[in-house]
Symmetry: C2
Subunit: 149 residues, 2 copies
């Protein structure tokens, strides 16, 4: 049986409006598909991640999340229904700046994993899923490839 | 420079009152010393853990905590100043029961680490530090050896 999540919403990143769509198909293992569209310029970025990728990514930050949990977090963040999950959309330069600041209190930006992830395509964007609870503040970065126009 | 934490308090585990004392000395690396005393029978259990042990333990649960963070959590739990950290004191039988129930939603009890930890001395107690926040519920078990009378 397939389980389907499908959310499309307008989300404001750094004062600019974007269309954000999240869809997830679950058949044995799950996948997450993300599409972010700049409402004005119509530039688009996309990412497709399977359950193994998501769970590996979260494990590397030191705060593991099961695929289903991560999907719920992402959905809640897009719909603004959770106070502990927020989103940001960064360019490679934004990310480099954050990493150079050497923010030692937050995890995620400084892993060895990150340095590999953040090394190519300058037209990429990074959706940063920030999870903030008492005793934890974690950044989960999802790379999005430029897909037009 | 040494940093010192020293907390002694009365804590009720499962309806029974205990004296719980937590002390921590930090000189280069940190250590946590725990002592739990049954107020009525005067039975006592103790544990001593260094920073590497604590960080290794937390990492294995999938929710890593730095030593200092874990120490703060423990202190807050003992003093009832945090809503997201609670404590329980278990015997080996209690633990086995929990593990056999196969509580698939909570992490910590079911790691391979646990099965090694929970295999010896029946007079041992386990202080279970439970961390509950949105999207996370983690159990960190600390073994305490019987120390008298």
């Amino acid at each position: 049986m397939n389980t389907l999540t499908n959310v499309t919403t307008v989300y404001k990143f750094r004062g600019k409006e974007y269309l954000a769509s999240l869809s997830s198909v679950k058949h044995r293992t799950g996948t997450i598909e993300l599409k972010i569209t700049d409402k004005k310029s119509l530039e688009e970025w996309q990412g497709l991640y399977d359950a193994a990728y998501i769970e590996n990514l979260t494990q590397k930050t030191g705060n593991f999340k099961r695929f289903d949990t991560f999907l719920s977090m992402l959905k809640s963040a897009l719909l603004n229904t959770s106070q502990c999950v927020s989103l940001d959309l960064l360019t490679l330069e934004d990310l480099e700046m954050l990493r150079n600041r050497g923010n030692s209190h937050s995890q995620g930006f400084t892993t060895s994993h990150s340095s590999q992830m953040f090394s190519s395509s300058t037209n990429r964007r990074y959706l940063i899923v920030t999870y903030t609870v008492e005793y934890d503040r974690i950044h989960y970065p999802l790379a999005l490839e430029y897909s037009g126009p």
